[in-house]
Amino acid sequence: MLTANRLRDGDVLYRKGDGWVPMLADGETYADQAQADAALAAATAELVRNEFVAPYLFEVREVNGKIRPVKEREIIRAAGPTVHPHTGKQAGQI
């Protein structure tokens, strides 16, 4: 998947098509490295719009029918701090 942070407020974003969505579950997964690289190249070219910063790719896998990041860092980024469940994207969902 491809992620970035929104420039204005730093919020975590996930790439979907030519745009961005705030929730990992709504983001797009890429079938192979070539597709992922193409998405990153497109996003990098859009940096001049000054809407988001620091785009990068990260690995995901399917767990019980849901997409889940491989690394703990991205799991936490997608949900919010594990020690403050009332904050981040997990707020109101737990």
């Binding site: 910063v53 690394k71 020690v83």
Partner: protein
């Protein structure tokens, strides 16, 4: 709010003069302009990043993080209320006190930063040089001006260093960050020997007050204990001497390898003797030019801001009787004050299960009330992520304790095993490899029983979520370093460190423990100490006497090593 509100006291601390106010105001306007230019696209992210870092603004995992300077850890009640207001208005209703005695907000929007900086400037606060490759917030002994152990209050010198190093034209683009601390007692509460440069106020054989200067300490990937640069620097020469150290560092440090850019690497590459020789050469040149002498009247002017408060005479010097819980708290969290009838009270932000160093807006407001009512409007932030009420009447201690209980900040654990330092770790930090806070919470809950904590005695656990060591794991009696192994968190144990006057660097025990194993491993290590200790020995003393082996055998006994 407390029932009996009093007029906020004017604490004895530095207050901005016209120059300071103008300087900070101009910097706010300058950064507001830079934010606007970034949002409009006039500045790219690469151009903006060093500018935002110089103003304490990071982009972390979930949002921007703003780090606010708390010079030498001193806050007024007015400033504390402003921090509560900012947390409530611009963040998620809490802030985090750090090991640099600063305060961080974790959910800041870039578009709000100019407004926040203006609000901070209203109470004589800012975020300048809380990040970036420059001289960072100067820290000091949290008991400054209150303890009878000190030769003199270290805060005037800390303030002078702050002013000298703020936007110093020669030192705003150093090879790496540079941290300075000041102490004035034999007992080191400010981790002096782990600083890039440290000043200890001392007396020479003739009884004259001057400064012992250290350099080259540090944590991170390559920890070092600082070397003595000079046993005694005269008062009027101190800025010239510090400038000489920084100049040698700035000129001679490596800039080609991010892991070798701190002054500790330079000093240990060329040797402390050669470093002293180079510093002496620069110092003599600065002395010859005579442009950086510290005039006595300027020292006196700054010192006057920190004049001791008028302590009441005739107060009872006896600790009040207020029950067993209060007595337990007083035993660990109350320290001897220099004035009869007064005490120093530590508020540990470490009730087992809490996030070390966190405080909500409501808690900050309530502490501001306590400051006004009981501690002459002042609080200190400690590098151990606690707060200190520096000047409280002993007769008021039961009332303070009662209020702290309401706030859930009355844990009687200062210096005990549950008084854990923990960096924000992977819950927030972009650099972290593993979470720190949940490990601190787990260990604190494991050792929650107060009798057990007192039985164990002084034991400092310090946890970092990566090798950068913001959680001071190298200096922990038991240090814990979080590492990443193929996306999974593991934790290495580090034993035998100390950040005090008996400073030492901890030794890594071996392979890391899993997230669910580390609290058990710590408990087994503590059990070895309890079995092996001799009368009066702290954990650290026993470790230094018997070495690593028995601890290691016990720690790995039932663990599945990674």
């Amino acid at each position: 709010m407390l029932n009996t509100l009093v007029k906020p006291a004017q604490p004895n601390m530095y207050r901005y003069d016209e120059f300071d106010a103008q300087f900070v105001g101009e910097r706010v306007n300058q950064f507001a302009g830079q934010v606007a230019r970034r949002l409009s696209g006039e500045l790219t992210e690469d151009q903006f990043k060093p500018l935002r870092l110089m103003n304490g603004l990071y982009l972390q995992l979930h949002a921007y993080m703003l780090r606010i300077a708390v010079p030498y850890g001193t806050l007024s009640s007015k400033q504390m209320r402003k921090l509560a207001h900012i947390a409530r208005t611009y963040d998620k209703n809490f802030g985090h006190f750090t090991t640099r005695t600063n305060l961080q907000f974790n959910w800041i929007k870039l578009v709000d930063v100019p407004k926040i900086l203006r609000e901070l400037a209203d109470v004589e606060m800012h975020c300048i040089q809380t990040s970036g490759n420059c001289v960072r917030n100067v820290t000091a002994d949290q008991f400054a001006g209150a303890t009878d152990e000190e030769i003199e209050d270290p805060r005037p010198l800390a303030e002078i260093i702050r002013q000298w190093s703020s936007l110093h034209p020669e030192f705003v683009f150093l090879a790496r960050k540079f941290k300075i601390a000041v102490g004035a007692t034999e007992k080191d509460r400010a981790a002096l020997l782990y600083h890039d440069m440290a000043v200890q106020i001392v007396k020479n054989a003739q009884g004259r007050v001057g400064y012992k200067v250290f350099a080259g300490g540090g944590m991170g990937r390559t920890p070092y204990i600082a070397h003595v640069m000079s046993e005694f620097v005269e008062r009027e020469d101190i800025l010239a001497y510090l400038e000489a150290v920084l100049r040698v560092y700035n000129q001679d440090s490596r800039r080609d390898n991010i892991h070798k850019q701190r002054i500790k690497i330079l000093i240990n590459a060329i040797g402390p003797e050669e470093m002293r020789r180079r510093v002496q050469r620069e110092f003599e040149e600065l002395k010859r030019m005579g442009t950086l002498q510290l005039p006595k009247d300027e020292l006196d002017r700054i010192t006057a801001y920190f004049a001791p408060p008028r302590f009441e005479a005739g107060l009872s010097d006896t600790l009040p009787e207020a029950g067993a819980d209060f007595a337990n708290w007083a035993q660990t969290n109350v320290y001897k004050h220099k004035a009869p009838g007064y005490a120093i009270a530590t508020i540990t932000l470490k009730t087992p299960g809490q996030v070390p160093g966190d405080a909500t807006s409501e808690q900050m407001d309530a502490i501001a009330d306590l400051m006004d009512q009981f501690s002459l409007g002042e609080v200190r932030v400690t590098h151990e992520q606690n707060l200190v009420l520096p000047h409280v009447r002993k007769t008021d201690l039961p009332a303070i304790y009662a209020k702290l209980k309401e706030l859930d900040f009355a844990s009687p654990n200062a210096g005990l095993i549950t008084d854990i330092i923990a960096c924000p770790g992977l819950d927030y930090c972009d650099l972290a490899n593993a979470r720190s806070i949940p490990i601190a919470q787990k260990i604190a809950k494991r050792f929650e029983n107060l009798d057990r904590q007192h039985e164990i005695g002084e034991l400092k656990i310090k946890i970092s979520g990566c090798i950068n060591a913001c959680g001071h794991h190298h200096a922990g009696h038991i240090g814990i370093l979080g590492v990443d192994k193929k996306g999974v968190e593991f934790y290495q144990l580090v034993l035998g460190g100390s950040g005090a006057e008996d400073a030492s660097i901890g030794t890594i025990m071996g392979p890391g423990f899993g997230e669910h194993e580390i609290a058990d491993a710590v408990e087994r290590v503590v059990n070895v100490y309890l079995a092996e200790r001799k009368d009066g020995e702290r954990f650290l003393d026993t470790y230094r006497r018997i070495g690593m082996e028995k601890f290691k055998v016990a720690a790995y006994k039932e663990a599945v090593a990674a």
